[in-house]
Point group: C2
Chain length 305, copies 2
Amino acid sequence: MSIKLCILGCHSATPRISSHPTSQYLEIKNHAFLIDCGEGTQVQLRKYKIKFSNIKHIFISHLHGDHVFGLIGLISTFRLLNRATEINVYGPKGIKKFIVTQLQLSESYTGYPIRFHELQSKESELVFEDKTVAVFTIPLKHRIYTNGFLFCEKLGERKLNIPEIQKYPEIEVCDYQKLKNGKDFKLRTGEKLPNKLLTTNPNRPLSYAFCSDTAYNEAIIPIIENCDLLYHESTFLNDKIDLAKITKHSTAEQAAIIAKKGKVKQLILGHYSSRYKSILDFKAEAQSVFPNTILSEEGKIIEIK
Amino acid sequence: MSIKLCILGCHSATPRISSHPTSQYLEIKNHAFLIDCGEGTQVQLRKYKIKFSNIKHIFISHLHGDHVFGLIGLISTFRLLNRATEINVYGPKGIKKFIVTQLQLSESYTGYPIRFHELQSKESELVFEDKTVAVFTIPLKHRIYTNGFLFCEKLGERKLNIPEIQKYPEIEVCDYQKLKNGKDFKLRTGEKLPNKLLTTNPNRPLSYAFCSDTAYNEAIIPIIENCDLLYHESTFLNDKIDLAKITKHSTAEQAAIIAKKGKVKQLILGHYSSRYKSILDFKAEAQSVFPNTILSEEGKIIEIK
């Protein structure tokens, strides 16, 4: 069990020659999710050799350009690649009009279904769920309606304790699934073997919290608490804490305070303002509060096990 | 007098790691024009060190993504760069809704005026004019309403023939502008010196015709006739002439036939389909009909004198 995150873009505001706006590619269980889609994301996907057809769900935090201007291009390229599989887009109310207006005016069709899941709740809500994974929104505080997303593995099946099982020849392979599901086993003698004797606990489910653009906001702590990896934007350093407040962004230190208060396992920073020459300063500032901090860098792959 | 053209992107359909969709930067007289604006154009402008503030007029041929998806990002970046100068956007009817819908939904403002000049005529029309330059549409045949653009220098002032002028001491510097404007000079004796004696012809005005996506279309010949440089798309080679017909594109040979029939000075090809491994094949095919053919390549600068 692992979660794999690839950073496609981690800078704020505009695409430049060697820095791209926000986009991330997340593999969790059997899913491949795209998170945010700034201009040029489709080129970054090519650069890091990610198959376009893997992506079936796209999560958009908000409708500012550096998080969404690449979506229409990606949707168009899906068509040129003869995509037939449905794509699901989760984003703020308005995202459907944002995309469909462009498709209509360019007299384009997609050739595959697009399902828009428009969000407008101010409370955290479940937006995607299947047997293995659940995704919840993380309402953020920004200049425009914005959500982060919490990606959670679900608790898996119990694991078979084979040496113990083999002590009872009447337990057959066809009984294994019931044991995985947590059932006790009744011997012919009438004796009941408790499930805990025959199985061990499943792996601890992992979780990843993506918090794009947000002012310092302790309200998110109950949602992101104890997650394995927290991406929290840090547009500024503390030298610009006033500008962070005005623009509803965070500093590296503020991201670290949230990580510490939320008792997360690891913090990853990003959405750096281009005014700073070195992103190492973001790491240093955050680590003074929360040592287990790493930096988003384009092409970096983070694996959580 | 010269026209300078910089190719920012010259490939069809989608942006890739090292090939970009259509965009060109044109310097003519004292103007800097941007022509088409596929995704990533703002990054190409940075790459080729073109000042964003130079651009005051943007011409969009049609609303297919590979010609327009980069416009919203560029418009947003203008704001981030604190632009105050008006920008003029010339494009098909609908382009205003295309851009304004995105600005509204992202709750963004531009901070500078954008004037949209929406086009819907099926006849060539004058869309921009000042003392030095005129720009006309070139109605094209594509799957959607599409215009090329003809950029024309205007005839300049007549040039002073200084050695001849100096033979007449009573002609003073303050008389020069009248001579440049074509006026004759009357000596105190009553004798009239014809303007042609005192001046020489102005430089021949130059012109550039940009024909983006179009099926083979002889109707454009009277408009592009005798121009100094014709950009004519060549999405395909003749091996795909049927596909060109269906998709309303041209082959390299068809572009060359238009160039030949239009008696243009030089032809430049572009909008290459990614199915071809080498763009040199486009040049070879066109040169068999029209020898003075060159290829669009990203970053290439073509100067017409």
